[in-house]
């Protein structure tokens, strides 16, 4: 295979990397004034990367001696990642302008691009070291983004916390990688699979446990979830929206590929870990959310809860299960971005952001459309039909039942009733409670438009999306098997 052909498979990452470097130079010379231009250009770069997926970028096969895969699975995840990254760039300027008195810096879109590039490598990697490089590229950009509001102590704390715990997670993962390498003699997924198919060996087993622990950390699955609420609360809201969407997709896709391609033969071993993480995340995410008063913390626990549901699909370990996870992720990022878009529009009369759940009181009377949209997202996250969130849950539980994991399915779905309680609490606050101080009414065309789009995607109007989306996710999942 010619070198040019191999490069053409990595075209999306190339577009992002070159775009990020060029825009970094532009922002270095253009300073603050270039922010708007850089932001717009960054969105176009993301669109360009998505276009670059067509052809070799999504169906090229294996490149660089088996280190990189350009398949339908990676393409599915990348489309979601680029979409979420673009939204994170679009919603940022107004937030910074109105909140910190400190306008958006042009580095923000550049960091998002770098992060997206790293995430692309994560989902395409079929080698543990390339995977690690991608992960670090994504994480380093994310640490900076978390502390992007320099004058805000909560933001700085979030960045530091994220960095320390993220470094710890990277260490655990790297330790697992070294064990796997030591006992399998390779870092390539295909060859690792051969080693796992052979006789059982304690070193490989420990490697598997540490790799999964590291992945669980990145996914924020229980018991490695503790950093999530603090980081989500402290980071600037657009960054939180980004954290809750794109990196989740990347980390989950990476976990799927490692589990299936590298450690597929050891499915009985890692299934136990995944089942535990899934149930613990569903229950703890739900119980933890009940007492939260801050909407961002509540959504952080909701993301833990949702990761648990997505892991139910992984536990199935089948193509059906992977397809279910992808379907779940696609619906999840729309719901979660939609919810954060509404958090962005929660501003007091003075324009400062409000994060209390209680401040939503009576929203159905002061801002009926906004309340309706949030109610749609909440009911959807709770998994009430006919909203799309129900079909996402259906997809993963269908796979679990098909794989014969009936106890997991029964306990998981019964625990989703606990989750329903706190989603209902938000609806109750908006619809049943007496109105609190109304939010400031400033035109928010961008946020409003995106919220509307997300709400339409989740609402029953979009039931026709189910068939194409499940077909697409199944094609993507088959690429792994």
């Amino acid at each position: 295979m010619s070198y040019a052909e191999q490069l053409s498979m990595t075209l999306p990452e190339l577009v992002l990397a070159v775009g990020a470097i060029v825009l970094m130079l532009v922002s270095a010379w253009g300073k603050q004034a270039a922010t708007r231009g850089v932001s717009i250009a960054a969105v176009f770069v993301l669109a360009g990367a998505a276009v670059a997926l067509v052809g070799n970028g999504s169906s090229g096969g294996t490149a660089f001696d088996g280190m990189y895969r350009a398949d339908a699975f990676a393409a599915f995840a990348k489309v979601l990642i680029y979409l979420a990254s673009a939204v994170a760039i679009i919603i940022a300027p107004r937030f910074f302008e109105r909140t910190s008195g400190d306008d958006l810096k042009p580095e923000y879109p550049v960091l998002i691009l770098l992060s997206a590039c790293g995430m692309g490598m994560m989902v395409s990697a079929s080698d543990l070291l390339l995977l690690y490089v991608g992960l670090e590229l994504q994480s380093l950009a994310a640490y900076v983004l978390a502390s992007f509001m320099r004058r805000d102590t909560r933001s700085a704390e979030a960045g530091l916390k994220y960095f320390v715990l993220g470094a710890l997670a990277s260490g655990i993962l790297l330790y697992g990688i070294s064990l796997v390498y030591g006992f399998a003699g390779t870092t390539l997924f295909n060859d690792i699979a051969i080693a796992y198919a052979g006789p059982r060996n304690m070193g490989l087993l420990f490697g598997l446990v540490f790799v999964f622990a590291g992945l669980a950390f990145k996914l924020a699955a229980v018991p490695f979830h503790m950093w999530t609420p603090d980081v989500y609360e402290g980071a600037p809201t657009p960054v939180t929206a980004f954290f809750a969407s794109a990196p989740k997709v990347a980390a989950m896709a990476m976990a799927l590929r490692v589990a299936v391609e590298a450690m597929g033969p050891a499915v009985l071993e890692w299934r136990q870990i995944v089942i535990f993480a899934a149930l613990a995340s569903i229950v703890l995410g739900a119980v933890g959310a009940i007492g939260q008063r801050n909407i961002k913390r509540l959504l952080a626990y909701s993301s833990i809860n949702n990761v648990g549901f997505a892991l139910v699909g992984l536990a199935a370990g089948s193509a059906q299960g992977v397809a279910g996870v992808l379907f779940y992720l696609a619906v999840y990022i729309v719901m979660t971005l939609g919810s954060f878009l509404i958090v962005l529009q929660m501003r007091g009369e003075d324009g400062q952001p409000v994060e209390d759940v209680a401040s939503l009181s009576g929203l159905s009377r002061s801002r009926p459309a906004l309340a309706l949209a949030l109610a749609i997202f909440m009911f959807s996250l709770a998994g009430i039909p006919p909203l799309l969130g129900f079909w996402a849950k259906y997809a993963v539980f269908e796979a679990a039942v098909q794989a014969g994991l009936l106890p997991l399915a029964v306990i998981g779905i019964a625990a989703s009733t606990i989750g329903a309680y706190y989603y209902l609490r938000v609806v109750k606050t908006m619809y049943f409670d007496e109105p609190a101080a109304p939010f400031g009414r400033e035109p928010a065309l961008v946020e409003g438009g995106l919220t509307l789009a997300a709400a339409i995607v989740i609402s029953p109007v979009s039931l026709f999306l189910i068939a194409p989306l499940s077909a697409w996710s199944l094609t993507a999942a088959r690429a792994l098997f």
Binding site: S364, R365, F379, I384, P385, P386, F390, W391, Y394, A395, F397, E398, V401, Q402, L406, A409, V410, I413, A414, S416, T417, A420, Y421, L424, V427, K428, Y431, F432, L463, F464, I466, A467, P468, S470, A471
Partner: protein, 521 residues
């Protein structure tokens, strides 16, 4: 109906009206909702008129090519059971709108929109021919009811709305897992196909229990009935009417459509469970109803008792029992709906549901007292009213399976007479002692228009139940033929020394199941 998609139109009319309601004024929303529900009532009458009694099992079948959503299919069709329950829904809906005409003044457009969406979801639940489509309609109904109870309910509405939502959600989710399993095992989500599919007997038991978790809560059966009194008491009048009138029927419909035909062996094995829970429910909830001081709570507990008569009839595994259960469902839908309206009428005047605050209403509200008496009698099951037909058939059917259950449930009916008459005595009879009660005007024209149609149908069903039984007869026969092989052994097997004719005659007569019970042993 030569290709006219009448069921889809019946879904579309209230759905479109619900959206329209959100964009008009309070009065506009009232009239829009009334017009839409009346149009649907007219469509329902058309549906009934065109339903071919003794024709195909599934009629008005719609399965448009466009309706394939990958995971599930949009497919509608009804049999006699569904037809009757759809008729009940479309009949009660305009009455609900009328009942809220003056009592709801707050956020009227949303209120009307939510009620119309409840109507869409109810008709959809009864007409769905795809397992998942059924689930979607069944479960989505939680959202509008949650909002109706939570926004327009009484003082403790938030607690009641949570309890209602979470209780029913937990039950339904277990059913969902069972549905997924069934779809994968049988390879289809088509309800008519699944109704003829034979699952292995040991699997049936688990599936049955999962469905039971959902329907027992919806029904509601003792001991998972506790959400009902809370929801009823806190809901606005029309919300109570629709809850008691139609939403409680979803449980019975579920048993009839899913549990019994799909898992006949499991149903046969677990009949003892249903009969025990029902027998306990009839006696226990009737005793609880006897000591209530809140009118709505009393009627709510009486609903639980009546629903227990439905479940024993359904699990009698014979023609009379199932027909009786359906008639009790229809009758209870009308009668308890009407009783809630009666409560609503005096609540609107005095703003209290405390029974002790009333008394002597027959003196200053004679017309009201007449209606209230009629519905009380129908609730007791007086011959000539709809309640008698249903309870008699249901108990006669049960007697052939379990004389004990029939005995205990008949005792419950006596208790039912006790609490109903006691309620009537405290509300309508006696002296007018309270001045504010004395000042209450008799029913207005609007209220008369709400009660009179229900009264007419209650009498119609009591005097000539054949109109309602005829469309269902064929379906009951099919169902009995399907489940016969699994019918539980009756405990009243006549011995040679005790001729069969005598026992059969005693069962036919119903001259007190207790006496007959003594003979059979």
């Amino acid at each position: 109906m030569n290709g006219f998609p009448i069921l889809s139109v019946m879904l579309l009319v209230p759905a479109a009206a619900a959206v329209l309601c959100l964009f008009v004024s309070a009065n506009g929303a009232r009239w829009t909702a009334l017009a839409a529900t009346l149009v649907n009532l007219a469509l329902g009458v058309l549906l009934w008129a065109n339903f071919e009694v003794g024709g195909a099992q599934w009629q008005f079948v719609e399965a448009p090519a466009l309706g394939d959503f990958g995971v599930f299919r949009y497919a509608l069709g009804i049999d006699g059971f569904a037809l009757m329950l759809i008729m009940l829904s479309v009949f009660l809906m305009p009455i609900c709108i009328g009942a809220s005409w003056k009592s709801v003044t707050n956020r009227v457009p949303e209120y009307m929109a939510l009620f119309l969406s409840v109507e869409v979801l109810m008709i959809g639940t009864f007409a769905a021919q795809d397992l998942l489509l059924f689930y979607v309609f069944f479960e989505a109904g939680l959202i509008p009811m949650y909002l109706i109870i939570g926004i327009w309910g009484g003082a403790n509405r938030i607690y009641a709305s949570y309890k209602f939502f979470l209780y029913t959600l937990l039950g339904s989710l277990l059913m969902l897992i069972a549905m997924i399993y069934m779809i994968q095992t049988a390879g289809t989500s088509d309800i008519p196909t699944l109704m003829a599919y034979d699952f292995p007997a040991h699997v049936q038991t688990w599936l049955w229990l999962a469905f039971f978790a959902s329907f027992a809560v919806k029904m509601p059966m003792w001991p998972v009935h506790t959400w009902l009194p809370d929801a009823h008491v806190q809901a606005p009048t029309a919300g109570s009417v629709i809850l008691a009138g139609v939403l409680l029927k979803l449980g019975g419909y579920g048993f009839l459509r899913f549990s019994i035909p799909m898992f006949p062996e499991a149903s046969g094995q677990l009949t003892w469970l249903i009969l025990t829970l029902s027998a306990v429910a009839v006696v226990y909830t009737s005793l609880v109803a006897l000591v209530q001081s809140d009118m709505k709570k009393l009627i709510a507990y009486s609903s639980v008792a009546h629903m227990a008569i439905v479940t024993i009839g359904l699990f009698a595994f014979n023609q009379q029992g199932i027909e009786g259960a359906m008639i009790v469902m229809l009758s209870h839908g009308l009668v308890s709906g009407a009783l809630f309206l009666c409560v609503g009428i005096i609540y609107d005047r005095l703003h209290t549901r405390e029974i002790a605050r009333y008394g002597g209403l027959a003196i200053n509200m004679p017309r009201y007292a007449v209606f209230f008496l009629l519905f009380t009698m129908a609730s007791i099951g007086l011959p000539g009213t709809s309640g008698f037909v249903g309870e008699f058939l249901s108990l006669a059917g049960t007697y052939r399976v379990s004389t004990w259950a029939a005995l205990i449930c008949t005792t419950g009916i006596i208790l039912g007479a006790a609490y109903s008459l006691y309620l009537y005595r405290r509300i309508a009879l006696g002296d007018l002692v309270h001045d504010d009660v004395k000042a209450m005007p008799d029913v207005s024209g609007r209220e008369l228009a709400l009660l009179a149609p229900i009264a007419a149908v209650v009498l119609w069903m009591g005097v000539y139940p054949e109109s309602f039984l005829a469309p269902m007869r064929g379906d009951v026969a099919l169902l009995v033929a399907r489940i016969e092989r699994a019918a539980p052994v009756s405990d009243s097997r006549p011995t040679p020394g005790n001729p069969a004719a005598a026992a059969a005659k005693a069962a036919e007569h119903g001259t007190g199941a207790a006496a007959a019970h003594g003979e059979s042993h």
